[in-house]
């Protein structure tokens, strides 16, 4: 089990009803963390156009997560 801090943005934040939470979960990759949050908050968003960062660095869905990491979950972006 790993302790992972998850931060939600935009639609993900609204859907979860919070900015941030700390989970103790079985998770090898960023994708595993995303799955756990989807179950937790009944979200159906696929990873498709979403992005993820680990400890403020852009990452891939198969990037490994370590105990104590902060995982940032970004819904599809729309700047400009």
């Amino acid at each position: 089990m790993k302790t992972i801090t998850v931060r939600y943005f935009a639609m993900f934040r609204e859907n979860a009803g919070l900015d941030e939470e700390t989970l103790t979960i079985e998770a090898a990759t960023a994708a595993d963390v995303f799955s756990a949050t989807r179950e937790r908050h009944q979200s159906a968003e696929p990873t498709g156009h979403c992005k993820v960062a680990i400890n403020d660095i852009m990452a891939d869905w198969d990037s490994p997560v370590s105990n104590g990491d902060t995982v940032l979950l970004f819904p599809p972006v729309a700047g400009g």
């Binding site: 943005f9 935009a10 639609m11 993900f12 609204e14 859907n15 009944q42 979200s43 159906a44 968003e45 696929p46 156009h49 992005k51 960062a53 403020d56 852009m58 940032l72 970004f74 819904p75 599809p76 972006v77 729309a78 700047g79 400009g80």
Partner: protein, 142 residues
């Protein structure tokens, strides 16, 4: 340089920062809040960003643009918070020796910013509902 701000953008003050005696061309782009999107009448927009990564990804984009289309100076400012129709949400300015680099670098920067920066916008429509742009599936799951 890229800046994220909640204050109104002042394009004239910004373009002056790009002045250079070696520049023969300046290209500027501004994204304005439009009163309509995909057939829906828009009242106002709300921008949210994650500044630390928006800034670092923005600097990466500026560096890529400089390598592809050698320019003298380029700046970019993106606003967040609640914006009304006609407000400037994003400004990009590039000065270069010749116009080709100025146009191409400016276009590259805005195209990349729009798809790579962690920025989200929620449209508030005249009919009272609202929606996150580019996020139909997450809207459905709400």
């Amino acid at each position: 340089m890229i800046v994220m701000t909640v204050d109104p953008i002042n394009p004239d003050a910004l373009r002056r920062q790009l002045f250079d005696a070696g520049a023969g061309a300046y290209c500027g782009f501004e994204g304005w809040i439009r009163n309509e999107n995909e057939g829906q009448a828009v009242l106002r927009l709300e921008y949210e960003a994650y500044d630390p990564l928006a800034l670092s990804e923005g600097e990466t984009i500026l560096a890529e643009a400089k390598q592809k289309f050698p320019f003298l100076h380029a700046h970019c400012v993106h606003r967040t918070g609640v914006l009304d129709i006609g407000d400037c949400a994003v400004w990009v300015g590039v000065s270069a020796p010749h116009r080709d680099e100025a146009f191409q670098a400016c276009r590259y920067i805005i195209d990349q910013l729009k798809v790579r920066l962690p920025i989200w916008k929620k449209e508030h429509y005249v009919d009272g509902h609202s929606g996150w742009v580019n996020c139909e599936r997450c809207a459905k799951s709400a």
